[in-house]
């Protein structure tokens, strides 16, 4: 080690003193900043806007049209309970009861961007709440069937006969609904049409979490 042991006084330049003080103030500032509650996930303001907007609704005619045309990226999700789902459900629908809309295995169905997800229940209430939960968690491309299965029956399964004074458009709509009803098995005797549609097997890839991967 060094031979001469006289302690040389360390002269610290004033700049370094100032810089050291600045550093400590900067680091200390973090401690003094007033704490505030962080908002996790979607902001309440945007959540409110989403609730108010009604473009999430899809009418039964559109859904019937998509099913008949075998629209590939339509995914119907029934949020009613299991036994109601078994009793009657729209073709190719997947059953996710309202209780486990946020469970991990249902996330594969809801949190993906390859399908347009349409939620439906008997009426609008459960499907709306399911939609709001999905919106709160930040899922995209989720729609709600207006009126649910009740509306489905009112329009597609037994459409009301329009009175003769109705506009020509309602007659056209009535014809479409009548034909769609037949497609869904109303009124045609020869049940040759394959009643049970081949269950559309939906291959879903788990969406990767957003944490940045890294490592050296």
């Amino acid at each position: 080690m060094s031979k001469t042991y006289k302690v040389k006084k360390v002269i610290v330049k004033t700049e370094y003193k100032v810089l050291a003080v600045l550093l400590i103030i900067l680091a200390g500032g973090l401690v003094l900043l007033p704490k505030y509650e962080k908002n996790s996930g979607i902001k309440p303001e945007t959540f409110l806007l989403n609730i108010m907007s009604t473009e999430r609704y899809v009418t039964t005619d559109q859904i019937a049209d998509k099913i008949i045309k075998q629209d590939p990226n339509l995914l119907l999700i029934d949020v009613r309970k299991k036994e109601k789902f078994d009793a009657f459900s729209l073709p190719n629908a997947v059953n996710i009861p309202l209780a486990d809309v946020l469970s991990s295995d249902s996330e594969a169905y809801l949190n993906q961007d390859s399908f347009d997800v349409v939620l439906y229940s008997n009426d609008n209430c459960y499907s709306d709440q399911a939609w709001q939960l999905c919106n709160r968690v930040g899922y995209k491309h989720i729609y709600v069937l207006k009126g649910g299965v009740n509306e489905w029956f009112n329009t597609i399964i037994n459409p009301q006969e329009p009175k003769s004074t109705e506009s020509e458009l309602t007659f056209k709509q009535y014809d479409f609904r009548k034909a769609a009803g037949m497609y869904f098995g109303v009124g045609n005797t020869a049940s040759t049409t394959t009643k049970v549609k081949p269950k559309k097997v939906i291959k879903l890839s788990k969406k990767k979490k957003k944490v940045a991967e890294g490592g050296c």
Partner: protein
């Protein structure tokens, strides 16, 4: 060593950083309203269906415990509304005035009862308020409409199937229609 003397650059950049931090802090707005409840708690509420009040339990005793909030817009409110119901349209639920009003109700620990033309219209407001941390918010399951200029409130139980779907389908498919209609793809009419 020699390089320790060169402090011009570091002092200059230190000043810039301090300025940047100050500017960042000064124009930083804390989020005004924050979701307190996490999503699973809300889900528990929904599943337990404890937020529903039917018109049956609207007897007079519980009335002063409840504060009615009409979440429809002003126009419908003026046409007709429940007795002593306050009108807060869903869109301006987050305004300061309404928030203080709800806070006051909360402090007097009244149950906030929301109602609209249909229960599912009020469920959005209900979800927003429960997640913002309001404790007991309920929805009045009624259908309100205005028939021959009288404001009528009729019960509207949730999610009641209009038909017995399965039976109806079986009956519908088995009716032997005389014309053997082939499965015809419906012509796109509109």
């Amino acid at each position: 060593m020699k390089e320790l003397e060169k402090t011009k650059r570091i002092s200059f950049s230190a000043v810039i950083i301090i300025l940047a931090v100050l500017i960042g802090l000064l124009n930083f707005k804390k989020p005004r309203n924050v979701f307190k409840k996490d999503k699973d708690l809300t889900l528990k509420h929904i599943v337990s269906q404890d937020f529903i009040i039917t018109s049956k339990d609207l007897d007079s005793k519980s009335n002063e415990q409840m504060a009615f909030i009409d979440v429809r817009n002003g126009f419908e409110y003026n046409k007709g509304h429940l007795k002593n119901a306050k009108n807060i349209y869903t869109a301006n639920l987050l305004e300061e005035a309404n928030k203080t009003y709800l806070k006051k109700l909360e402090d007097k620990n009244k149950t906030i009862v929301l109602y609209a033309s249909k229960p599912n219209k009020a469920s959005g407001a209900w979800m927003l308020l429960t997640q913002m941390g309001y404790k007991n918010v309920k929805i009045l399951c009624v259908q309100t409409n205005y028939i021959n200029n009288k404001f009528s409130v009729s019960d509207y139980p949730l999610e009641i199937p209009k038909y017995d779907f399965a039976a109806y389908m079986k009956k519908a498919t088995s009716t032997n229609d005389d014309a053997t209609t082939k499965k015809v793809a419906p012509k796109k009419s509109y």
